[in-house]
């Protein structure tokens, strides 16, 4: 995912799909194309109890970008500064090679434009200091966007402080 990751907190996710809808609506993506996809399992009964979990799957912006390698016209490119992989729409010839090449078929088909379209992690918003649409719209803060090291640090800090607080109170 270039220099960034989006993490999912399934305890906070309510499977409302606001992430997908806002992406389609604000990025003007056709209804049928889903760039970042929230995958939900459940609710279902597991050992007599209802359970559910979820995982947000945007484009991974792979280091080995199959889509980029497959594109015959070099319409798919990588930003040097943060490794984000994006499609130059004007160059796309609509051959769908990227969709086929991607192991997860992440690039989507924009039937209105006759071109492939894929998640660029809202790089215009990132440049403006904002979070991607999917993350910023999430009503429960279930999605988190950032650099892996920052997220890791934040999570460990919160966990560690919680433990320390407990120890201190117990002592």
């Amino acid at each position: 995912m270039g220099d960034y990751i989006i993490t999912t907190n399934p305890q906070r996710c309510i499977a409302c799909h606001a992430c997908e809808i806002a992406c389609k609506s604000e990025k003007k993506i056709p209804l049928e194309a889903t760039l970042g996809k929230i995958v939900v399992l459940g609710p279902k009964m597991v050992n007599g109890k209802p359970k559910m979990t979820s995982l947000f799957v945007p484009c991974f912006h792979c280091e080995k970008a199959w889509c980029m390698d497959a594109c015959p016209v070099e319409a798919i490119r990588r930003r040097e500064k943060d490794g984000l992989v994006y499609i130059v729409e004007s160059l796309c010839v609509g051959c769908k090679a990227c969709i086929m090449a991607c192991p997860w078929h992440v690039p989507q088909w924009n039937a209105d434009a006759g071109k492939a379209v894929k998640c660029d992690l809202c790089m215009d918003r990132i440049d403006a200091g904002e979070e991607p649409v999917c993350v910023s719209v999430c009503p429960t803060n279930a999605l988190q966007f950032g650099r892996p090291e920052a997220i890791s640090s934040k999570t460990r800090e919160a966990y560690g402080l919680g433990l320390l607080e407990k120890n201190l109170t117990a002592a």
């Binding site: 806002a22 609506s25 209804l31 459940g42 009964m45 209802p50 009503p139």
Partner: protein
């Protein structure tokens, strides 16, 4: 040039504060108001789909007068002048024969309700009701009977709750963003959630304990909980001593309702009921039994909701941190007056004050006339009881799809001389109207200010973000234009939204500009709590929590009547209805994105029952009740109680103009019989039986 407008959403009735980014008169994004931390910056999927809603070409695009049969989709596009003149002239003609009381104004309670009520008062009709009455008339009545406040005047301190008990209150699908965020954070901090519902929902999957109760068993369950709490002295004794009226009577009343007794009635093990009572007591007073929305709408609903409020009282939770609180308004925040209301003007005396529904009168003496009893609308029309009803103003409320028994509702609408509808979209009733006066979308209109009562009261403002996409108008303008034509324009002393705001703020030292920076005016920096030991201003006649209710007893309605067992039908299913995260009532099924997310409903039945009936998942089945029959796909699952069937509300739209939702799924009210709670007036939406047959 981009600008951010702070306004109030209206994709559902919660009205979250939102930030709308606009560029070249187009909405480019919608987020939670950044000045309201509890919004977390986000919005629900409905608000995320609002841009598609405002730009939808399947909206009502101009005033229309019907030319074909009702519901045929044949319209004549007319000017506002023609539509308003037509409406007013038809009204004058009808009123001259039957009086203005022959008109009923129904609406989804909203920011212009004060103006709507003024309209009926001005023309001389006592008949106004809101959608609230259909969802929660009995909750309102139950709450008033016991604490003197309506359910709308209390709320939950979600972020500090330590144990919540929700009876079908599906907080994670029927979403209020601020409350939900606070509650999820509370759950992360270890708050317990006991969720009681015959059907598994997303809220059930998030619960620490889910109880699949027999449909309708909630009241018996609650009586056994109360029994246990009293028997084992698990209640907040000083609080009960200080605030309860009728505790001794309660003790004698619940004596026979043991957990073992309840087990037979509600299907949950007695030991679990006892264990829950003990668990709850450990977290008191930060305990909430939620009183509202969905779950167990039966003829005894007033008593069920009262039992919930009694439980809150026993745990000492009312006006306690992490419990329920009474919402505080302008006066509690030290202001001398409230927002000035149009409906408090002096109107001419009405010649006949009898309401169409008998609310606050003979039929429903203790139901709330501020909302009415919408359930009675088809009855009043069809039986001309208490007098002929000839005109309906269906303003953003849908009497066809939002009341039990579709065919009866249809017959009632057909009997009317004039159906005037105002809505953004074509709904069931709008499509049947004689004249449509289309309202502008909430992103296109400014509305009267909202009093946001709460722990930290505020006044909130909805302001137009963009120009209307089509030839539509704000409702306050439409109402005034009709009033002028009916000779009562003097009660609507405004030309613009700014005039309305200035009128509302007349008695306060608050200016319109004060709303510009954040979209609201905060009236208190800190949360206003009353002293729970001695300062709670219960509004009951005794100033206490009235288990024995003066309101009820003075109208010969017993406070604690004996429990009556549920009926059972072995070959049928008790039909329940409910909500999902994608849709608001019957209003959003045609939205581009929300339709795509949940396009139609299926009937849920239990896998064991299905097997016996030879029904497999996704089969087409025929569902029947005494009120209707229809074909629908089935969802066979272990996530529903064997005695129950379930339908998502809001589907089965027959209006040809709404092309995406047209004839998708079935309306739940096709099968709902006209059962109701005779005290609070709520329809017993979950009380009907249906049979399911493989085709």
């Amino acid at each position: 040039m981009k600008k951010v407008v702070h306004t109030l959403c209206f994709m559902c009735s919660v009205r979250c504060p939102i930030d709308v980014t606009v560029e070249n008169d187009q909405v480019v994004s919608i987020r939670g108001n950044a000045y309201v931390p509890a919004m977390n910056g986000g919005v629900c999927p409905k608000a995320a789909a609002a841009i598609a809603a405002v730009n939808d070409t399947q909206r009502v695009q101009s005033p229309l007068i019907r030319v074909g049969e009702r519901g045929s989709g044949q319209w004549r596009r007319v000017s506002w002048t023609e539509a308003l003149d037509y409406t007013a002239n038809r009204c004058k003609d009808i009123f001259s024969k039957y009086g203005a009381k022959s008109s009923v104004y129904c609406e989804r309670a909203n920011l212009i309700s004060d103006i709507s009520k003024s309209f009926q008062k001005a023309i001389g009709s006592p008949n106004h009701f809101t959608h609230d009455t259909v969802c929660k008339g009995s909750i309102n009545t139950a709450c008033r009977s016991i604490i003197g406040y309506t359910d709308g005047q209390i709320n939950t301190d979600w972020s500090n709750v330590k144990h919540a008990v929700l009876y079908g209150r599906n907080v994670f699908e029927s979403v209020e963003v601020k409350a939900m965020n606070g509650f999820i954070s509370a759950l992360e901090k270890g708050c317990k959630l006991t969720y009681i519902d015959p059907r598994v929902t997303i809220t059930a999957a998030k619960a620490t304990d889910y109880k699949m109760i027999r449909p309708g068993g909630d009241l018996a369950f609650n009586y056994a909980l109360i029994h246990t709490i009293i028997r084992e002295k698990l209640y907040d004794a000083p609080y009960v001593e200080r605030w309860f009226k009728g505790f001794d009577e309660l003790c004698s009343f619940v004596d026979p309702y043991t957990p073992e007794w309840a087990e037979a009635e509600c299907g949950l093990p007695a030991a679990e009921i006892v264990q829950l009572a003990r668990e709850l007591s450990k977290s008191k007073p930060s305990v909430v039994f939620h009183y509202g929305y969905r779950g167990s709408h039966h003829p005894t609903e007033t008593y069920f909701r009262r039992s919930i409020m009694i439980l809150n009282g026993l745990m000492g939770s009312i006006e306690s941190k992490g419990g329920l609180f009474i919402k505080k308004g302008l006066k509690d925040a030290g202001y001398p007056a409230g927002l000035k209301a149009f409906s408090s003007q002096k109107f001419p005396e009405m010649p006949d004050k009898r309401r169409f529904d008998g609310c606050g009168q003979e039929k429903f003496p203790i139901a709330d006339p501020a909302h009415g009893v919408g359930f009675m609308f088809p009855h009043a029309v069809l039986n001309e009881d208490p007098y002929p009803i000839k005109v309906v103003f269906a303003f953003r409320y849908d009497p066809l799809l939002s009341n039990p028994d579709y065919h009866t509702n249809l017959k009632a609408l057909q009997k009317l001389d004039l159906i005037v509808a105002s809505d953004v979209n074509f709904g069931g009733t709008t499509a049947m109207a004689d004249v449509i006066l289309p309202e502008s979308h909430f992103l296109e209109r400014s509305d009267p200010l909202q009093m946001g009562s709460g722990l930290k009261p505020a006044i909130n403002r909805r302001i137009a973000c963009i120009k209307p996409r089509f030839d539509t108008k704000p409702m306050w303008w439409i109402v005034k234009e009709l009033a002028v034509r009916l000779g009562v324009g003097q009660y609507f002393s405004y030309e613009t939204a700014e005039d309305i705001w200035n009128y509302q703020l007349a008695d306060l030292d608050i200016k319109i500009e004060d709303f510009d920076r954040t979209g609201f005016v905060s009236l208190s920096d800190k949360a206003i709590w009353w002293d729970r030991n001695d300062g709670i201003k219960f509004k009951t006649p005794s100033g206490k929590i009235e288990v024995i209710s003066e309101l009820m007893e003075s109208h010969q309605i017993p406070s604690l009547p004996s429990y009556e067992n549920l009926d059972a039908q072995e070959d049928a299913f008790r039909l329940m209805c409910g909500r999902c995260v994608a849709h608001t009532n019957v209003m959003t099924q045609n939205n581009l994105y929300l339709n795509n997310l949940v396009p139609e409903n299926r009937i849920w039945i239990n896998e064991k029952r299905a097997k016996k009936l030879g029904i497999a998942d996704n089969d087409l089945v025929e569902v029947s009740s005494p009120t209707g029959t229809g074909k629908i796909r089935v969802f066979v699952t272990d996530m529903i109680h064997p005695e129950a069937a379930f339908l998502l509300h809001g589907f089965g739209h027959q209006e040809v103009e709404s092309k995406r939702s047209y004839q998708k799924g079935l309306p739940d009210n096709l099968f709902q019989e006209r059962h109701y709670d005779k005290i609070g007036g709520s329809p017993a939406l979950d009380h009907s039986w249906v049979t399911v047959r493989k085709i």
